[in-house]
Amino acid sequence: MLLFAPLIALAVFALLVPVTYRRFGRDTGWLLAAGFTVLAVVLALQLPASGDGEVVTASWSWMPSIDVALRLRLDALALLFSLIVLGVGALVMAYCARYFSRGRHVWLYTLMTVFALAMLLLVLADDVIVLFIGWELTTLCSFFLIGGVRSGAAGPALRALLVTASGGLALFAGLILLSVHSGTTRLSAILDDEAWKSDSPLATTAAALVIVGAMAKSAQLPLHFWLPGAMAASTPVSAYLHAASMVKGGIYVLMRFSPLFAENPLWTWGLITVGLATALFGALLALEQHDLKALLAYSTMSQLGFLVAMIGVGTPEALAAAALHTLAHALFKATLFMLVGIIDRQAGSRDIRELGGLRRVMPVTATLTALAGMSLAGLPPMIGFVSKETMFAAFHDLPGPAWAGPVALALTVAAASLTFAYGLRIFTGAFIGPTVQRRLHEPSLLFLAPAAVAAAGGLALGVGVHTLNPLIRRVAVDTREQFAAVDLHLWHGWTPELALSAVTFAAGTALFLARDPVDRFLQRPRRRLDGEAAFTACYDATMRAGARLGSLTQRSSPAAHLPVPILALAAIAAAYALHPIAVPAPPRPTTFGVDWVPVTVLAVTVAGAATRRSRLGAVILVGLTGFVIGLWFLLAGAPDLAITQVLFEVITVVVAVLVLRGLPRRFHSASRRRTAVTAGIAVGAGIAAAAATFAFTGRRERSPVADYLLHETGPQTGGSNVVNTILVEFRALDTLGEIAVLVAAGLGTAAIMDLVAVRGAERTAASEQAEVPDSALIVDVVRRALTPVLVVLSVYLLLRGHHEPGGGFTAGLVGGCGLALVHLSRPAASRTPLPPIQTPLLAAGLLVATGTGLAALAAAEPFLRPAHGHVDLAGAHVSLSSSLVFDLGVYLVVLGMVAAALNRLGHYGVEAASGAPRDAPERAGAGERGDA
């Protein structure tokens, strides 16, 4: 409960912010500060116990299916970071209350609270997934705090998000690798897993992934550039982000995983190299800044470098030093940011070239800055002094070659000297020298108080640093499983570290005194290592590459999209053909001499259809292909299929010809190369399909299903036409689906043509109706003779379908032919060739068919179960089946579909022809775009 309480409390605080803000305005900051303080005190009560090694755990089963639980664990390391998060959080919240004007800052207070919650979750988590959730939440919070909601800071916010989130992904992969191979997501169990403590490739991979994540988060070279940009955020946000949250997340994770990887060479040397390079480089960059906030930003980067290097050293002493310096840095960096914000507010600038002599008008601010600056520079009696000396001492025990220790130490001293120099610069730049602005004054004490508390904390913990001994030593145990041989005291006696400190001060002072030549050196024009520019270049290049990749397939012509699927088919066939597999001989002969007749005719018609330039010719040849296949069906003994196929071709050709009236007579001409390519693809696909048909069909005995259908149709259904009983009884569901398709096609045609008609009418309202020559006289005569015959025939076909060739589909198509005749015989320019019967026909048909299915269901029978019965009518024995009703539905739908096609598409032909002058260029344009 001790562990859940602060998390729940912070969540409640975040939810309450909008309410309290309405009542208290910006003073909500004070309330939050009070809340944070209470939480910090509650946790601080755990300090003595934690120092003695007591560990508090809590767990709540969250996602048992994936073994992720809200496991929390408070040891000394977690406690240290928790106190930093809450303590600095309290100060920053209090600072917010006076920093911000009285406007609406609900969003900011809420986000800051969530930020604290996320950090606390990160440091308390004992489950790698929960830890990662905390980690990503801090990333998101900082994104929104930096500039997620303001246009001004979009760039820095984007960089911060993408860099840290990408690093987060590396950490994510590392954590999953660890948890998968350890078989648990529990962090403390993974940390106990000996398998990771070697330098096996797996362990090294995991270590590398964790390092990359931490480098991005803690702004280490070369992923550092987002941090200086992040100062676009408001100062309280920067203070929190730099001192206690976000960047400290990376440090925490590195320390947390030290038990596993501290012996790994990549970990040791990678972290030391990266850390020291960042420390040195960051300090140099800090020294060349004039903007105090930017200076502090680079300073953070440099200080984090020290910490990372310390973790790399990996001895218990080094980790103790890192822990102490984390605390020291949190205190002085929070103070300095808050004070810079105050200076900015009071003096209207943060540029040391515009400031000066402020100590006369703002003595308190000056004193506090001096205290924090001393801690930064490592001067006694501040905590920063002790932590720096502890770090110097830790380098003595650097593992590895003998030269490594002195080199690392020398670099550290160099970086520390630069730190000393820029620390001095902060103070002198703002407070020493002639007072430029004489009318300034101290801000209110309430505004100064948070900074004062932090500065005083740095002093108190410097003088009383020995009180931290139990906690810091226990952190070393938590991270390296050994007690650290550290004894924290302000005065260590005459040690080598003291001498190094003296060297640091001397060198730093020298750098400060020689500030003009140093400045000239630093400010000289040179090629800069510009991470931001590199990021932007990368970002833009990726975007361009993406646009190019996308444009590969952004083609409005269907022809551009069709080849790949067809080629995939050919590829499968080719891959299969490469495996020599015996093709079984067919049980019965499958090819007869007469088959070659349709094959030859088909080859001719297909070749003709493919080469015709005339649209009408191509359509007729394709129709002919269908007729030939229909005849082939007849030859093969399938009259139902043959009749349906032929009727279908008739209707298709009629409708196609109607549509063609609105199109150019000839196809666009295609280039020779394109023709060759498409021909190649078509032939390849054709060969693949033919080969598959040859190899895979007709090579087994009749299937059990086929046997059943042939033998059981009569007994089961009372019908004798197997094809029709399959359609309306055995596989009536397929038929229901198919008529649903027809209904959708009919309704869809109507809907689209309604749209076209509306626009077409607008377009052609003024233009004269085109006169189409009336050549329908002969057709009209035929119609008068044939239509009644067709109507009777279609009804007859419908009724006899159960026993003889016929059925709803065929009957509907015959009826459709009748409709087509009626349509063709009318004057072509007529607006409504047929009454609008299609929608009622389609709806009624679908309703009837679905209804027969539902009727069975209502009788607690399976859906679409046909009911059979016999009626003795006038002595004749008539067998009745509900499937006839179903077939009636099919009939109506087919009829409706034909009516829709004739009505709408036939209408369209005339419409489009009359609107052609304006319509044609548009369509041709679309074609060209795709063909290009």
Binding site: L137, A547, R699
Partner: protein, 491 residues
């Protein structure tokens, strides 16, 4: 519970479709019938899901014919999950379409209902040929819905959509024919594990999967999706995103596990396709300049993630993939709906035309950023859990390349989501009279509510998604072992 009522999932919307095709006004009762039907379907599917949540399999033989002859409707946990998800999305997307007035177009309601019936048929059927039929039932109304948008490019993209779909259907039908030619049955339960001993069937299965890959827009057959989806009307794009490619993915899961179950010889090809799909989709998305283009390319990328779940060994891989699928359907539709709300109001989706919407339309901003972050796999949203279980499954099975791709693609996903966020919602508003339009949030049950409701789902799933994870695990087990499925069909 008996499976007798399963066909209601297709019969109900078909009957409602006939009604709404004939009765053309007044508008209000029509809307009530439309939404009521979809609501009933959702309720029906929830009941079905509850019945099979423990891994039970329901089956009903349509027409009552003996096993092997009849077409069977089979419901396992996977299909039940899909039924619930698709009917939820249909309901929410139609709600949006009504709010945006898209339903006033002629025949919108009956076409959507036929589409919904087709979706249910695809998910329920246990018969390969019948699967083909119901895929057609979903496609035919879609051609019309796609072409009904007011976008000027609609006919050009409509042609792409129709021709690629027809080609895919033809290929699929050829493959169904080959399967019947080889084994003499199209009953799925009888096909379980059959491809392992039969190279011809393995080849025919490959053709089936190739056709489904086109349908699911996997690289290299992905281009049509990004070319067509952005040009449909916003509500229709959202509807299609939730239903169409997901049916292809569903069928891939079903057939891959059924035919090849556990066969790993050619898995490298499938893994390669998934990795390419993830990478190409996200990269192309990053390069786009309008909201729905970005979202469409993203869908391709995410389909790669989902398909990866089918390729990884069941049950862990399938469970992860199915969870990803569930999350993705919700998050993606939510994004299409919030982007659609913006487009509907401002008449454009070009990023460059916008700016500063976060202040003007905070609710829209919320409805966008939540699913956007979820899609990018950020906690505490469902996308994080989805990415986690999938990457965990990949690493657990030693598919490191796939895992690296899945993780790395996440960065670019985030980048392109932030690209939309910053240019539409954050950037300085352009001086443009378009922005004089009234606030979207003015209408109480307006355009934003559908997107917001789905955004809420992704948050809830992210925080309390354990029940869904458990269901997906159950579904994954069903795909790993078809014994129960086959038994239910025979009984």
């Amino acid at each position: 519970m008996s499976g007798l009522t399963m066909p209601l999932s297709i019969a109900l919307p078909l009957v409602a479709a006939t009604l709404l095709a004939v009765v053309r006004r007044p508008a209000r009762p029509r809307r009530i019938v439309l939404l009521g039907t979809l609501g009933l379907l959702l309720a029906h599917h929830v009941v079905l899901l509850v019945a099979v949540a423990d891994g039970a399999v329901l089956a009903t033989r349509i027409g009552g014919w003996p096993g092997g002859v009849a077409i069977t409707f089979v419901l396992d946990t996977f299909s039940a999950l899909m039924l619930v998800a698709t009917s939820l999305l249909a309901l929410v997307c139609v709600w949006f379409a009504i709010a945006a007035g898209e339903d006033e177009r002629s025949m919108f309601a009956p076409l959507v209902l036929v589409l919904v019936a087709g979706v249910a048929g695809v998910l329920l059927t246990g018969d390969l040929f019948n699967l083909f039929v119901f895929l057609e039932v979903t496609l035919m109304p879609s051609y019309a819905l796609m072409s009904m948008s007011s976008d000027r490019a609609r006919f050009a993209v409509g042609r792409v959509f129709v021709s690629i779909s027809l080609l895919t259907s033809t290929v699929f039908l050829i493959a169904v024919g080959l399967v019947y030619g080889i084994v003499g049955t199209v009953d799925l339960a009888s096909l379980a594990g059959a491809a392992a001993d039969s190279p011809p069937l393995a080849a025919a299965g490959a053709v089936l999967l190739a056709a489904l890959a086109v349908k699911s827009a996997l690289v290299p057959v992905h281009g049509w999706l990004a070319e067509t989806y952005p040009h449909a009307s916003p509500g229709v794009t959202a509807l299609f995103s939730g239903l169409h490619t997901k049916l292809g993915i569903y069928a891939i899961y079903r057939l891959y596990s059924l035919l090849y179950g556990g066969e790993a010889r050619f898995a490298w090809i499938a893994v390669g396709v998934c990795v390419l799909t993830m990478a190409v989709g996200v990269l192309a998305a990053f390069g786009q300049r309008s909201m729905r283009s970005i979202l469409s390319f993203h869908m391709i990328s995410q389909n790669g993630y989902i398909a990866l779940g089918a390729v990884l060994a069941a049950p862990a891989g399938a469970a992860a993939g199915i969870f990803y699928l569930m999350h993705h359907m919700v998050a993606k539709a939510s994004l299409f709906l919030s982007a659609g709300a913006v487009e509907h109001r401002y008449g454009t989706g070009r990023l460059a035309s916008f700016g500063g919407l976060a202040r003007r339309e905070p609710l829209v901003a919320l409805a966008f950023i939540v699913p956007a972050l979820s899609l990018a796999g950020m906690p505490p949203f469902s996308g994080f859990l989805a990415k986690y279980v999938l990457v965990r499954a990949a690493i657990g099975q030693g598919q490191y390349i796939a895992a690296v791709a899945a993780v790395a693609v996440g960065a670019l996903t985030l980048a392109s989501m932030i690209k939309i966020w910053q240019s539409v919602f954050i950037a300085k508003p352009k001086d443009d009279d378009r922005h004089e339009a009234p606030q979207l949030t003015a209408a109480p049950v307006g355009l934003v509510a559908p997107a917001l409701s789905l955004a809420a789902v992704t948050v809830i799933l992210g925080l309390t998604g354990d029940w869904l994870l458990a269901l997906c695990e159950q579904a994954g087990r069903g795909l790993a072992d078809y014994t129960a499925y086959a038994e239910a069909v025979v009984d």
